[in-house]
């Protein structure tokens, strides 16, 4: 911490000295013209363009903002501007021209990647001078997909970027995972600063491009947060033309409800058979002091046993229930067609001194379950030339979002703790809400209250209407970027960003919701003699509110130096920044809320009251809490590049971070993160003169990026948890145990790649090979429970190595009236654990469905692993395992004694191969893009039947496939049913490799059909362009490697149906 403050001071000292010196130099009066060089296609500044007057020496090159200040002598009249990838430009500057700014528009040579700038968030580098691996995705590609989330639009168009639908694993990874226990999400940068708020605040229609920084040379400038890669989102800016541009984009899409009847399920008839079997065995225990709910069948069997139901009634009821299917009920009552709408309007223009962009967008989505999402975003970007040397850029964004809950989704209605009988109906024959058994036994609920309690029945059909949650979020973002030219090539800029986000979350449990009635009843005290009720929890709604406020300030000061001397080009950037992120939260609950007046009634949280059912004392829950966090960071950074003869480039960068997070020691230990890279532009060599290529560049880089986990601490920390139960004294608990050896994780990346393009970029190839070494990785390791810290601890115990390649091939297959382009993305990534501190070599610690990290050296970080499987015993249907080379059914021994060497590691849970193939066809105004995504080389674990769960009431779809008689073992692996169940038999079967299936698949990612209206004779000045587009997404699997037809990306969940949409885009 001290050292970084020292660095900062040195930097300031240097800067201030320099400043006085250089401002003095600038103060010489001179005739100067500020020249802005821009790309005529995308309107972005062209950095590094050579500028000079004809007949004179080369004056210099533009800075990162595309600006060059040229001194003009009387005789200078023809300005020459050239840059790699652009047609050279000569522009007459008449003698009578007295203005002080001049714009020069360079035409790109081909519709190409040439001239694309790599935006690192700190600077915009021309691609030619970048030595790192960075992926640029322009607006056209981002517009191929619909939806409110900008990042989702990278799916299928960005190479090396992978989207994972599993909830437990990171949703987006760049070049595989780089951490085992630390944060795994890439850093998201909006324009210049990390974006701290909800990503949904960003309106995709405001976005000009996205740059994905993949290796150290590109991303190391972000230091301790760059370990997982960086995604830089660039917003749109004002236009060059003085005319007003208006653009309108609107679209509508819809998805059909999912086909629930295709979901694997246990039939009601089988479920009832199991209940009857268990009933005979005496499994269901009546407990008058805690009458936990039984299903209707069990209740009926109890009635039959007590002589309250005759066998004919029982048989007819059971027959009726056997024919019912809860999936059909969900489908009938809860799932409807979804509808998403999106509207966006933006205006941009140029008033001479100021370029401006205004964008407004509105989204309204309704899911198949009726969850609603609305968002309104407003954005304003301006760029002002205050004086020849001073440019001020501002950005302002305001967004407001709201979410509200809809109907219950498949599987969310349960009787007790996930148990649910599949013969439930949600409505009776008249369509009236039907009772579903929940929490306590229905006969108890029916009789206990004597009319004094609240109705205790649960009606899922309508309960969701009374039990709703929603949130409102507003986010404000303001950025100021002041850039000053101090001397030739030297700019300083000060940037500041303010972000404020406010979230209000409410869970409203209406007075007639089941949860509210249930809570009131549990705390009711009935006086049976006079028929009165004393309410401890008052009647009325229960409202849980949560308010969160996020405030983030980011300050940055940086100096850029960019000069070209003859054959030498130098670019230096140094700066310092501070970041502060404060979050405040407030949670409170109100009881007895009146729905109309919102008045509420106080409860007594201090004294315990008897539970109506169990009679044990408990407190009325009042989870009121306030929280406040304040995370602060200080960083210094440097990056520099040198290019010789336009051919050889070397770059270096370094950064050091410090924070106020606990553990001063670990801050001191933080080593600077750095990178170095080199690039070689072969086409500039003489020997390449005859090569028929547009581009050929080689790149190599190496460096370290970090992965700071703000949640870890090296010293014991405790957390205040409010008042202790019973004593009400202020209490705290251990939050983190002392861990003096803690260090930050680091990722070293080596990258080598090339960019190649044939003439006119008919074929363009970018290929990168990389090795990623993660060191000092935090890993969860089992710990001796005697230590008292837990069953596991997190320590710097692991290292891992990832290697792979990213290949992008763009090919223009046909040219002319009919254009056919193919883009092929192929990535390979294999990340393996190199070492992992293992205190325990018991095999069972390595069982993994691929969602957790097993940490076995030599195996993929996310591995699918389990017990050896020897099939079912033909005599009794017992699953057979293997221990020390011998087949065995001693499950306890298999589980407790199998050493890790005897475990079967099936393979990686993350795709080893992945990518996309996109074909685009264009004929006249009509274009069609079809994108196929593929993943392969990995495995997933299918869920398995366990009898323990079955007996607890959780339906098991595989039940019908169980072993029932000798011979069944030939076509099933589901064990026979036994009673009582043996826990370890279930565990062994669940964790055996027989459930591991290959996860490879090909998916139809999206289809986009677009029609561009030809502007007849271009005479229509009013409308500049019109497009009509149709889009399909979630179109399903074309092929799977597993032959059970399971979608490996969603093996257990509800598969969403295809979504279709269409829209129009107008330009005026």
């Amino acid at each position: 911490m001290t050292s970084i403050c020292l660095y900062q001071k040195r930097f300031w000292y240097w800067l201030c000295c320099h400043l006085f010196f250089t401002t003095a130099a600038v103060a010489q009066p001179s005739v100067e013209i500020i020249i802005h060089v821009k790309n005529a296609e995308n309107k972005l500044p062209v950095a590094g363009a050579s500028v000079g007057w004809r007949g004179g020496p080369l004056a210099g090159s533009t800075d990162s903002n595309g600006v060059f200040i040229a001194r003009r002598n009387k005789h200078d009249s023809l300005l020459q501007v050239s840059s790699v990838g652009f047609a050279s430009m000569e522009q007459q500057v008449p003698v009578q021209f007295t203005g002080n700014t001049l714009e020069v528009w360079l035409q790109p040579i081909a519709e190409s990647l040439q001239g694309v700038t790599v935006n690192t968030g700190y600077q915009r580098l021309p691609r030619e001078r970048s030595t790192g691996a960075a992926e640029y995705i322009g607006r056209a590609e981002l517009n191929l997909q619909l939806g409110a989330n900008i990042l989702q639009r990278l799916d299928g168009v960005a190479s090396g970027v992978q989207f994972d639908k599993s909830i437990q694993r990171p949703a987006i990874t760049i070049r595989g995972v780089s951490s085992i226990n630390g944060p795994k999400d890439p850093l998201i940068v909006l324009d210049n600063f990390p974006f701290e708020g909800d990503i949904n605040n960003i309106n995709p229609n405001d976005i000009a491009s996205i740059t994905v920084l993949k290796d150290a040379a590109a991303a190391a400038i972000w230091g301790s947060r760059a370990g997982n890669g960086v995604i830089v989102i660039t917003t749109r800016e004002g236009s060059r033309s003085e005319k007003l541009n208006i653009e309108l984009n609107t679209n509508v899409s819809a998805a059909a409800p999912p086909d629930l009847l295709r979901m694997p399920a246990m039939s009601s008839s089988d479920y009832i058979d199991v209940e009857q079997f268990l009933f005979q065995k005496g499994f269901y225990r009546e407990n008058p002091s805690n009458p936990v709910a039984f299903s209707p069948v069990v209740e009926l069997l109890f009635r039959q046993r007590n002589g309250q139901a005759d066998s004919a009634t029982v048989a007819s009821k059971l027959d009726n229930w056997r024919s019912q299917d809860i999936r059909a009920e969900y489908d009938k009552w809860f799932y409807k067609t979804s509808l998403n709408q999106q509207y966006a309007l933006n205006l941009n223009g140029n008033t001479g001194m100021m370029q401006w962009y205004l964008g407004g967008g509105y989204d309204a989505n309704q899911s198949v379950l009726g969850d609603a999402f609305t968002r309104a975003v407003f954005r304003a970007n301006t760029s002002m030339q205050l004086s020849p040397g001073i440019r001020l850029k501002t950005g302002l964004q305001y967004s407001s979002m709201s979410n509200s809950s809809g109907r219950p989704g498949y599987g969310s209605i349960s009787m007790t703790g996930g148990a649910m009988y599949p013969y439930a109906v949600f409505a009776d024959e008249q369509g009236q809400p039907a009772i579903v058994h929940k929490d306590y036994r229905q006969p108890f609920k029916d009789t206990t209250g004597m009319g004094l309690l609240q109705n205790w029945n649960y009606y899922p059909l309508t309960d969701w209407e009374h039990d709703r949650s929603g949130n409102d979020l507003s986010n404000m973002l303001g950025t100021v970027d002041l850039n000053m030219r101090l001397a030739k090539g030297l700019n300083i800029s000060g940037l500041y960003q303010y972000e404020f986000q406010q979230t209000e979350q409410e869970y409203w449990h209406g007075a007639s919701s089941y949860l509210t009635r249930h809570t009131i009843n549990l705390y009711s005290q009935i006086n049976r003699s006079n028929g009165t009720v004393k309410y401890i929890v008052p009647p009325g709604a229960i409202s849980d509110m949560e308010n969160r406020k996020l405030t983030a300030h980011q300050w940055r000061f940086q100096a850029n130096y960019q000069r070209q001397f003859q054959d030498h080009e130098l670019s230096l950037l140094a700066g310092a920044e501070r970041r502060q992120r404060q979050e405040q939260s407030q949670t409170f609950r109100l009881y007895g809320v009146d729905e109309f007046t919102l008045s509420n009634i106080n409860v007594d949280p201090v004294n315990p009251y008897p539970n109506y059912v169990t009679r044990s004392n408990s407190y009325v829950t009042l989870p009121n809490a306030v929280g406040s966090t304040d995370n602060r960071f200080v960083s210094v950074f440097f990056t520099g590049g040198y290019t010789l003869l336009g051919r050889y480039t070397i770059t270096v960068s370094a950064r050091k971070d410090a924070s106020n997070l606990f553990g001063v020691e670990s801050n001191k230990k933080g080593v600077p993160l750095w990178s170095a890279g080199a690039a070689w532009n072969l086409l500039k060599e003489k020997f390449a003169n005859s090569w028929k290529l547009d581009e050929l560049r080689g790149r190599i880089s190496y460096g370290y990026m970090g992965n700071a986990d703000p949640s870890r601490s090296a010293v014991t920390t405790l957390r205040y948890v409010g008042n202790a139960s019973f004593t009400n004294a202020m209490a705290a608990q251990i939050f983190q145990y002392s861990n003096p050896t803690l260090r930050w994780e680091r990722v070293g990346t080596f990258n080598v790649g090339f960019d190649l393009a044939t003439r006119a970029r008919r074929i363009a190839v970018t290929a990168d090979y990389y090795i990623k070494n993660g060191v000092d990785l935090l890993g969860t390791v089992p710990v001796d429970p005697t230590t008292g810290v837990g069953l596991t601890v997190v320590r710097n115990v692991a290292s891992m190595r990832g290697q792979g390649f990213d290949l992008t091939v763009n090919s223009q297959n046909t040219n002319g009236a009919f254009i056919w382009n193919t883009q092929w993305l192929l990535s390979y990534n294999q990340t393996r654990v190199l070492s992992y501190y293992l205190s325990n070599m018991q095999g069972r610690n390595f069982v993994s469905s691929g969602n957790t990290i097993a940490g076995m050296p030599g195996q993929p970080v996310y591995s699918v692993a389990g017990y050896y499987w020897s099939g079912l015993d033909g005599n009794n249907g017992n699953p057979v395992g293997r221990l020390d080379g011998k087949e065995t059914t001693d499950y306890t021994s298999i589980i407790t004694k199998t050493p890790v060497e005897q475990m079967v590691f099936t393979g990686s849970a993350l795709p080893v191969w992945f990518g996309a193939l996109m074909n685009s066809f264009r004929w006249k105004g009509l274009s069609l893009s079809v994108n196929l995504g593929y993943k392969g080389g990995h495995y997933f674990r299918k869920s398995a039947l366990t009898y323990g769960a079955l007996y607890a009431g959780i339906a098991q779809p595989d039940y019908a496939k169980r072993w029932q008689q000798p011979g069944d073992e030939l076509f099933t692996h589901v064990p026979s049913m036994i009673y009582p169940t043996i826990g370890n038999r279930d565990v062994f079967y669940r964790d055996a490799v027989v459930h591991h299936l290959p996860a490879g698949h090909v998916r139809l990612q999206f289809i986009n059909l677009q029609y561009n209206w030809p502007m007849v004779g271009k005479k229509s000045k009013l409308v500049k362009g019109a497009e009509l587009y149709l889009n399909g997404s979630n179109l399903g699997l074309l092929w799977t490697a597993n032959n059970e037809g399971i979608d490996p990306e969603n093996p257990n969940g509800v598969l969403p149906g295809p979504q279709w949409g269409g829209g129009v885009r107008f330009k005026w």
Partner: protein
């Protein structure tokens, strides 16, 4: 133009310098989360020790689950979903308790150690002196209590003659989790348990604001219990006497409404320290029934019969928790001290003095005016009587297992042979069985290499 430029430039640079340079160290000194702290002040330590959910609400029932106050029918036994529950009940298998119960107790040891380390590095201020003494006493009390709980379950019976040669339990006195755990000798284990509690007794105040916050009387009561479990009746007797000098109130059971769901009031006059225990599956009313001979042993006029038990299908279930709720009582109360003092007096030959204490207790347990004081018993009769009343008074308080264990090395007449019927088979746990020291959780053994208890 350029002069303006220069001024503006300097101004802006100056401004940014101010913002970004002002106290770089100070900027990083801010506390990252308002409710997080490094335990550094007395207040922090007190807050840690106040955490009732760590220290007084998470008790395993291994002692009661393995003891003979209850039984489980055959159908119920099969319907038990937890393997460790079945093992605990049938005294079989490698698994006695799951590692979570073990962890819960050692978490108390760890948290107490964090408090003790923080107190050691605290700069003492005059105003805090009393608070520091109390906090240190509280931490030692909790550490000692947790370790004794572990010793009763997992260590063999303490006998002064063999204690130096037998294995005890792992004693952890550090917060560094990288220090390996080792089994201390039995003598060393009990020595620390006793020494900690003796120091706590010196440091703790005579009374505290809540029965869940330890005080000196509770520490003396635990010392009495410890010495009793070690077979040192002189020390056990003298500590129970000291407790009774300070607190000797008894609850008159005639004032209790036996029909209530949980008739014994919480924090009643007898409670010296209140610990709560969570019932494990096999001990809940769905499965467990009170041993029928035990139930029969209560006389009709004995109020404990109606206050402690209620009828359920196939037997009786317990409701006499000294917590006034479904929590089981895991602390100490004066009734235990009467019984311990009486036993120690009788063993020391002061039969009359012992019986008079017993009479004083039982008078409050019987219907008003029905209790006939016991007199004129021989030493062994008196001892048998006090032991029987001990079981009848202190059941379902995690004490029975300790008693069965300690009696197994005393006079033959009072040794207990416990029996279970499981799947039609009788299982016997004879005195001297290795099973009196329950096996350590398997993961603990495999991770530390500590020696497992013999089967």
């Amino acid at each position: 133009m350029f002069t303006v430029n220069r001024k503006l430039t300097l101004m802006i640079v100056g401004l940014f310098t101010m913002i970004t340079q002002q106290g770089c160290e100070k900027f990083l000194d801010a506390k990252p989360t308002i409710n997080l702290a490094i335990p550094a002040t007395l207040r922090d330590v007190e807050a840690l020790l106040n955490n009732t959910s760590v220290f007084t609400m998470q008790y395993s029932l291994v002692g009661e689950g393995s003891a003979d106050n209850y039984f489980i029918g055959n159908i119920e036994f099969q319907a038990l979903s937890s393997q460790s529950g079945r093992n605990t009940y049938s005294w079989q298998g490698d698994v006695s308790v799951d590692e979570n119960s073990w962890l819960a107790l050692y978490k108390q040891v760890y948290t107490a150690n964090v408090a003790l380390e923080a107190l050691a590095s605290l700069k003492p201020q005059a105003a805090d002196e009393a608070g520091i003494r109390k906090a240190k006493g509280t931490a030692l009390f909790f550490r000692s209590r947790a370790l004794h709980e572990i010793a009763v379950a997992f260590a063999p019976v303490f006998e002064a003659s063999t204690a130096t040669s037998k294995m005890g339990i792992p004693l952890r006195n550090t917060t560094d989790f990288t220090t390996p755990s080792e089994r201390a000798g039995l003598a060393a284990s009990y020595q620390q348990i006793v020494e900690d509690m003796k120091e706590a007794a010196q440091l703790l105040p005579l009374s505290t604001s809540h029965t869940m916050l330890p005080n000196r009387v509770a520490a003396l009561a635990y010392l009495s219990r410890y010495y009793l479990s070690m077979g040192d009746f002189t020390a056990a007797g003298s500590y129970s006497d000291s407790v009774l000098l300070l607190r000797n109130e008894l609850l008159n059971y005639n004032t209790i409404n036996a029909n209530a769901d949980y008739p014994v009031p919480a924090r009643n006059t007898e409670v010296l320290f209140e610990g709560l225990m969570q019932s494990t599956q096999q001990l809940t009313a769905q499965f467990a029934r009170i041993d029928s001979n035990l139930y029969k042993s209560y006389a009709p006029n004995d109020l404990r019969k109606s206050i402690f038990f209620k009828t359920a299908t196939n037997g009786y279930v317990f409701k006499g928790n000294y917590t006034g709720s479904s929590w089981w009582f895991g602390g100490v109360a004066t009734d235990e001290m009467y019984l311990t003092a009486a036993e120690c007096k009788i063993r020391a030959g002061e039969i009359q003095a012992g019986l008079s204490l017993l009479n004083k207790l039982l008078q409050t347990r019987w219907k008003q005016g029905t209790w006939q004081p016991i007199t004129g018993l021989t030493a062994s009769e008196a001892l048998q009587t006090v032991l029987a009343e001990r079981r009848k008074s202190l059941l379902m308080r995690e004490i029975r297992w300790m008693d069965v264990k300690r009696l197994s090395v005393l006079e033959t007449a009072n040794r207990v042979t416990m029996k279970r019927f499981v799947n039609g088979k009788e299982i016997i746990l004879p005195p001297g069985s290795n099973r009196y020291a329950l096996p350590f959780p398997e993961t603990v053994i495999s991770m530390t290499g500590m020696q497992q208890n013999p089967e």
